[in-house]
């Protein structure tokens, strides 16, 4: 009997299934149309079809991982629970006031994101704890019951509870949850200390409310999916990816759905990271360019950068997530000339339908894809392996009109669109690298998504990134990532602590307590002892600053060395980010963190034998491609990615086509196929 791992990435248009046979390392890919009304149909059906086709009856599924956009879509479309909220007295409007800033500095018509709990469902109870834990007011059972009755009468199906300083003393939140649960039956109840036990009340509140908003949605979704998977013969405990790039069981996801809002994009990062790792590369910048948006992130020494301060669809979320920066520009983004005569690309997009002008489905405004078709970097006759006919003439017409307004010729205008897109991508990458103290030149760019490989070389040149890796299947990297993802649970607690002699015991104890929680989680998830791994870190600052730097502790040092390790780690991080340290200033820890991993075996992806540098066997033709570098159309060889073998080498300029993507190799650049069939692009000397 063969054992298989199954990854399913459920997107808006397609559901991708990726299978891996553990013994042989054999990989199989299957794509089915998504079923947006009930995604679980396509997921379970697609998985079954793929298993039948590639694995046969006797296959045993030992792992099932799933990436989903259910949470993020519910948030975008504001289709979530009817929430009631209970806060400390005097603070029911905090959710609405937030940080008190307006959404746009100059635009008088801008609006704040819709408040997820209307004011009449935000109630206060007499409750107050102070920063040192002193109790000013304790909520009475009568007040709690009255509030719960009121919310029950308003028909809420989720309850969020957030009190000041609950990270320090959760007693009051627990009390309210307990009493309210009796009144509210099986309503989804969530407390801020359980969702994110960290200081800064608005961000904690916002996270808790989003958790409540998603609670019933995710619970309902998973309760549909689980039996369907069982029916499809998948008996193993299914897992779902979180925004931090690790997986959790359906049960944990049902309690903390807010941790899954970036489930999809984070899986792509893991897929990129593991693909690069297999190729021996640990420092990468991921570049996932799709039709309407582009996600970039940075991975250092095999660890994605995570953040706990992100804003998703307008809502601050204080949960660990991979630090993914999104730009509203992709292949379908529309190019236009603004009132001052400058060329702008995006954020408007032609989407999948009608799509770019060259699809001939009715759109008349030129897009990034049209520019690539005019320049013939993209196949000017057909895309998607022949499934999508292309009308280059229409793209030429649309870009010609734009060219007239710019005062440039058509080819320069098309090239201009690409330059503007490249500049905005470069800017996004600077945000996640330079702005966080990392030099992009030390990283390898991993390009995926439909449009990533097309723009990666120019982007790399702009940022002086020496090397680009294009995975074998850039379009299904997310599904592949699911097969390679560790279980992960992030734990944290805010304990404000000055780093002086007396702090040793308390710091040690804070970590010890988190470690205890982590062990309990390992038990619940059934992680074997030899597969458990803990990574400790602390959020620290000079006493007086208000933004903490996250300082990883390579090893959870013994009590005696702990303070020294914290101090030197912090000083190094401060020096790197800000260029100075302040030795006479006291340092304080604000939040202690532990990441708990349940390691899964990384399947050995099969390595192909070296077939030598000659790529002639994969050459399928030649076409004229406009290269602004040479200011002309130049005859470029076209290669079929399917036929490229390990060891093959291509000198630019050249184009490599495959079903779901196209890779451009620039003049002065070479592309080599590595043993895992990744395409590795490098600039030669003097390029």
């Amino acid at each position: 009997m063969s054992t298989w791992r199954v990854g399913v990435d459920s997107g808006g248009t397609f559901t991708d299934v990726c299978l891996l046979e553990e013994e042989s390392g054999r990989l199989a890919v299957w794509k089915v149309p998504s079923t947006p009304d009930d995604p679980s149909v396509a997921i379970s059906g697609g998985a079954r079809e793929a298993l039948d086709r590639f694995a046969g009856d006797s296959a045993l599924v030992v792992f099932f991982g799933h990436g989903t956009t259910v949470a993020t879509n519910a948030l975008i479309q504001r289709r979530g629970a009817r929430i009631g909220l209970i806060t400390s007295e005097g603070f029911r409007d905090l959710l609405e006031i937030g940080r008190q800033r307006r959404p746009d500095l100059y635009d008088l018509q801008a609006d704040k994101p819709e408040t997820l709990v209307p004011r009449d469902r935000r109630l206060e109870v007499p409750e107050r704890i102070l920063h040192d834990g002193a109790v000013l007011a304790r909520p009475t059972p009568e007040a709690i019951q009255a509030a719960a009755r009121h919310l029950a009468a308003m028909g809420v199906d989720a309850l969020a509870i957030c009190f000041l300083y609950s990270f320090r003393d959760p007693t009051h939140e627990r009390l309210v949850a307990e009493i309210a649960a009796q009144q509210l039956g099986d309503t989804f109840v969530t407390c801020s200390h359980a969702v994110c036990p960290e200081f800064r009340e608005f961000e904690r509140l916002s996270t808790t409310v989003v958790n409540a908003f998603l609670g019933p949605v995710i619970k309902g979704y998973l309760s549909q999916l689980a039996p369907r998977l069982a029916d499809a013969g998948i008996r193993v405990e299914p897992h779902i990816t979180q925004s931090n790039g690790g997986t959790i069981t359906f049960e944990t996801a049902s309690e903390l759905p807010v941790r899954t809002v970036l489930s999809g994009p984070s899986t792509g990062v893991i897929g990129a990271l593991e693909t690069a790792r297999a190729a021996g590369i640990e420092n990468i910048i991921t570049f996932d360019m799709g039709g309407t948006s582009t996600d970039v992130s940075l991975v250092e020494a095999g660890r994605p950068r995570t953040t706990t301060e992100a804003e998703v669809h307008g809502y601050p979320l204080k949960v660990p997530m991979i630090d993914i920066h999104t730009v509203g520009a992709g292949g379908g983004s529309i190019a236009d000339v603004d009132a001052g005569g400058l060329l702008k690309v995006g954020p408007r997009s032609a989407g999948a339908a009608p799509g770019p002008v060259c699809y001939g489905l009715g759109n008349e405004e030129p897009t990034v894809t049209d520019a690539n078709v005019v320049m013939q970097v993209l196949n000017p006759r057909e895309l998607l392996g022949g499934r999508m006919p292309i009308e280059r003439g229409k793209a030429v017409g649309a870009i010609g009109y734009l060219a007239g307004r710019l005062g440039l010729d058509i080819n320069e205008s098309a090239a201009g669109i690409i330059r503007v897109v490249t500049a905005s991508m470069a800017r996004a990458i600077r945000v996640i690298s330079v702005q966080r103290g990392h030099d992009p030149r030390d990283y390898c760019l991993v390009a995926f998504g439909g449009a990533g490989p097309l723009h990666a070389s120019r982007l790399a040149r702009e940022l002086e990134i020496p090397k680009v890796l294009v995975p074998r299947n850039p379009g299904i990297l997310c599904a592949l990532g699911l097969l390679l993802t560790d279980l992960r649970h992030d734990l944290s607690v805010t304990r404000r602590l000055r780093l002086d002699e007396g702090a040793q015991g308390e710091a040690h104890e804070a970590f010890a307590s988190l470690r205890g929680d982590a062990e309990a989680w390992f038990e619940r998830e059934g992680v074997a002892a030899e597969r458990r791994r803990l990574v400790a870190s602390a959020d620290m600052r000079y006493a007086g600053q208000n933004y903490e730097l996250n300082v990883p502790l390579p090893e959870l040092a013994g009590e005696a060395q702990l303070l020294d390790a914290l101090r030197s780690g912090f000083e190094a991080a401060h020096q790197r980010l800000y260029g100075y340290t302040a030795p006479e200033e006291p340092i304080e820890v604000m939040t202690f963190r532990i990441e708990a991993y349940g390691l899964v075996d990384k399947p050995k992806l099969g390595a192909a034998p070296d077939a030598g540098p000659d790529a002639a066997g994969a050459r399928i033709g030649e076409r004229e491609v406009y290269l602004p570098e040479l200011k002309d159309f130049v005859a470029c060889p076209v290669y079929d990615r399917e036929r490229l073998a390990a060891g093959n080498r291509i000198e630019g300029p050249a184009v490599v086509e495959q079903m779901d993507s196209t890779t451009l190799v620039l003049p002065g650049q070479s592309a080599t196929v590595d043993p895992h069939l990744n395409l590795v692009l490098e600039f030669g000397e003097g390029a």
Partner: protein, 564 residues
């Protein structure tokens, strides 16, 4: 869209201009992030009361990172002021200038300390990295004239050819009440400029300064074209508007009048009959007036035009020298932003007659500030806690105004309660929206904020400044006015005098900020929206009846009281 491009006589292709423009704005924004993250005073680190700007070698604004509009004025004259004092050949690589004086130092009030660093490429001056941060210091001072308001610093060197001038630093720190915070904020400011210099130099190395200068010309011309195209869409004519300005420091409210003329693609703002400058910290220096006027015009003409010096060109602004809107030394200026907000109200009131669909009713019209100081009994150290409070944002032509936000010339964040209380001996008792403060109308004005603060175990001095206590934020086209500013004092707390008062241990004060005006007659408001506002306790049953003519009957159950 339009053929603006034809107006452009590009010497560099428009794509390159866009690409370099992107690089410049990202440098300024990254400088801002560095400053906010590394700084110490709550005012900078949490409330983001700071700005970063890149200038070209001549001192023209290339880009301001979008934090606080009024800072555009603060930084506007700084490079010119430096170049006036120091011939270019006396300025060296590694110099950093510091200044704060409203009349000579590039600031608009003394707490805003500016650091300006020349950027050199191949031995020649290529640009300036500058930043400004509002230091929460110089408290409990007088405001009869600027000498009382703090230390005046003309632009002088804090760093000379890379070497910190310790004597200058010592002099400044001795004049500050919280010197440790000041020192560490200045370190963060230095770090921000260092970062800006490195990135700008990388740009120079790549493109060459001659080429960059041509691109900078293009960037400014581009902003100018955008503004001109926008002004041209506004009907020609002269539009007048008058409003009143009150403050605790004034004996009586003052009247301001604006005559605004649109002619083709240019706009003239003439502030007339403006009262003489006052012996209170309410005067604007010229750069503060200009920054405010440019802000107000930009919001109506083209909110997304790049914030560089080109956008100023089609706009002329004048106010009598020696008046409260264009003061002469030694006029005091500390609380200038309340006055600035009224200037915006004037510009918006005038333009509402020309392009009603683009305008909003009067916003809260204030930068309500509350500063608490004293000796922290937990540490024995002197503390300063400064907060500015948002309020209502005016109703729009097709939607309600925003509740509880900062408006116009400011956009600072609040300080989280869980960040504030561990640091200062104060308790925040409530932080909420104020019922009935949103001006009724077809579209309702935004609601004001109530923030109540209690002093713990110490005698606390407070300095609370606001406006719109007498005149309320006005409505537009039949919309009614919004709620007014007021203080709610515990029994036993004496009324404040010119904004200054005291809290004994255990006493509290609540600051109630103004709401905003409504847009269109209230009787045209959708009844469902009135009922929603009533159910959500945003309006009282009485307002529903009086302003909207809706009897509430059974719907009056005031939900929020249920749990209390």
């Amino acid at each position: 869209m339009n053929d603006g491009a034809k107006g452009g006589n590009w010497t560099v292709d428009p794509v390159t201009v866009e690409v370099i423009g992107n690089a410049i704005s990202s440098i300024a924004e990254e400088m801002g992030e560095t400053l906010i993250r590394a700084s110490y005073s709550t005012n900078i680190k949490e409330r983001r009361d700071c700005s970063t700007v890149l200038f070209d070698a001549q001192g023209r604004t290339l880009y301001q990172a979008e934090h606080i509009p009024i800072h555009l004025g603060s930084l506007m004259g700084v490079v010119e002021a430096i170049l006036e004092r120091f011939p270019a050949d006396q300025i060296r690589e590694g110099d950093v200038f510091i200044g704060n004086d409203a009349y000579t130092g590039g600031g608009t009030h003394l707490p805003d300390i500016v650091l300006a660093s020349p950027i050199y490429h191949e031995g020649a001056l290529a640009g300036w990295a500058t930043n400004l941060a509002h230091h929460a210091d110089f408290v409990d001072r007088g405001h009869d004239h600027i000498y009382q308001e703090g230390l005046r610093i003309p632009p002088i060197r804090l760093q000379r050819a890379g070497e910190l001038q310790q004597d200058v630093l010592d002099l400044i720190l001795l004049n500050c009440q919280v010197p440790r915070e000041r020192l560490n904020d200045l370190r963060a400011q230095l770090a921000a400029n260092r970062f800006g210099i490195q990135r700008f130099q990388a740009l120079c190395a790549r493109y060459g300064t001659d080429f960059l200068n041509r691109v900078f010309d293009e960037l400014l011309d581009y902003a100018e074209r955008r503004m001109r195209a926008g002004i041209a869409e506004i009907p020609d004519g002269t539009y007048e508007f008058e409003d009143s300005f009150d403050a605790d420091e004034l004996d009586e409210a003052l009247n301001f009048r604006l005559r605004l003329t649109v002619r083709g693609d240019e706009m003239d703002l003439n502030f007339i009959d403006i009262p003489p400058q006052v012996r209170a910290g309410l005067n604007l220096v010229e750069t503060a007036l200009l920054a405010t006027a440019y802000y107000a015009v930009k919001t109506v003409v083209d909110p997304s035009a790049p914030p560089n010096a080109g956008l100023f060109r089609p706009i002329t602004v004048s106010a009598p020298y020696g008046s409260i809107l264009n003061s002469a030394p030694p006029g005091a200026v500390n609380g200038r932003t309340n006055t600035c907000q009224r200037v915006v109200d004037l510009v918006h009131g005038a333009l509402a007659q020309a392009v009603p669909e683009r305008l909003v009713a009067a916003c809260n019209g204030a930068v309500t500030s509350a500063t608490f100081t004293g000796t922290n009994p937990r540490t024995g150290e002197f503390y300063v806690y400064l907060e500015t409070l948002g309020g209502g944002f005016g109703a729009r032509a097709s939607k309600d105004g925003l509740d509880g936000v900062q408006v116009h010339v400011t956009n600072t964040s609040n300080l989280p309660v869980e960040g504030l209380e561990p640091e200062y001996p104060l308790i925040v008792e409530r932080y909420e929206l104020v019922r009935d403060s949103g001006g009724p109308g077809q579209w309702r004005g935004g609601m004001g904020i109530r923030r109540q603060i209690r002093a713990i175990d110490h005698q606390c001095r407070m300095f609370i400044y606001g406006t719109r206590e007498e005149s309320a934020p006005w409505g537009l086209f039949g919309g009614l006015e919004g709620g007014r500013y007021r203080l709610e004092r515990d029994p036993g707390v004496a009324p404040l005098v010119s904004g200054v008062g005291e809290l004994a241990p255990g006493q509290s004060v609540a600051v109630v900020t103004p709401g905003a005006g409504g847009y269109g007659p209230p009787e045209r408001r959708d009844q469902a929206l009135v009922r929603r506002d009533l159910a959500e306790d945003r309006i009282s049953p009485e307002t529903a009846r009086r302003a909207y003519g809706i009897e509430y009957g059974e719907e009056s159950d005031v939900a929020a009281k249920a749990g209390r």
